[in-house]
Amino acid sequence: MPAWNESDVIAATVTEVLTAMPEADLLVIDDGSTDDTAALAHAAGASVLTLPYNMGVGGALRAGFKYAWRNGYEQVIQVDADGQHDPRDIPKVLAGLEHADISIGARFAGEGAYEARGPRRWAMRLLATALSAAAHTRLSDVTSGFRAANRRTIRQYTHHYPAEYLGDTVDSLMTAIRMGYTVTQVPVAMRPRQGGTPSASPVKAMIYLFRSAFALLISTTRRKSSVA
């Protein structure tokens, strides 16, 4: 669970996840928070990996995957710290790993109420279409941060997991697909964020669209990264 200055919600989210999944180990990656996110997460019962400075979601996640790889975990699921993801869906998303290397908890797959409009919606469509074509399966929500990986994928992630914006979702997924990893999606409901505000301005949405297309272009033309 990557977390950056989430002191308002982190304790509640950690408690909820641990209640829903008592048999799981929960690692919170504190991405250079300036508040007491790390201490609160630790007090709530999570292990905390504290990064010395802010690296972005992708940076935090690669550190988490390295931790998982070195400690021999067979499966990993990433969950947002802001409480958007319902921990009760975790077993459902993990079940997707039975027939794929990566399992994505997707918002648009029929469950829950999630609406996106204008350029942001086009961007999501573009990304979903491109990645679906590459993966030969229907993926409707490729920017979802609610996804699970098996040990094979964890290893790939430790080698290639970009820290750039959108690199953590789109690029990592596209690279994994091109390396031959299989992807599946599981419909989940998203809850409104417990704290913070989602960006909604049309300018930001346009920038988002542009950056999506760019991230896609880079990740599809990139030389395949080799896992030693």
């Binding site: 019962g45 010395p52 400075y53 931790y67």
Partner: protein
């Protein structure tokens, strides 16, 4: 003729400074390559200005100065790009180091917790 001497002095000084900085270990060799090319090109052109005029005609530039500016900008762009590439590489390297530090930190915390209280299981 005056201009030639000026260029020669400036070019030679540049190469000298470059050599000096390299020798005292304040710059890595890989950065010197491009700068050295610029310095040597400056000196060569100062000694044989006809070379520039010939090249100007050959490449279809109107004035030798145009070619000179064009080449100068091209080389500076090359240096900038090189620096950006190196900066990205450094960022990647610090990222990896930061990950290692964080992972080691967590391990130390765990080991200390284990030693402080042997009855507590190491992993929850």
């Amino acid at each position: 003729m005056n201009v030639t001497i000026t260029f020669l002095v400036v070019g030679a000084l540049f190469v000298l400074v470059l050599f000096w900085v390299l020798r005292s270990g304040r710059i890595r060799e890989k950065y010197v390559a491009l700068w050295g090319l610029i310095g040597v090109a400056g000196v060569v052109l100062a000694i044989w200005p006809d070379l520039l005029s010939g090249l100007t005609r050959l490449l279809g530039f109107q004035l030798p100065a145009n070619l000179l500016f064009f080449l100068a900008i091209l080389l500076l762009l090359g240096v900038c790009l090189h620096l950006s590439v190196e900066a990205s590489k450094l960022e990647d390297e610090t990222r990896t180091l930061a990950e290692e530090v964080a992972l080691l930190h967590l391990r130390i915390d765990r080991l200390q917790g284990q030693r402080a209280d042997e009855s507590t299981p190491p992993r929850t």
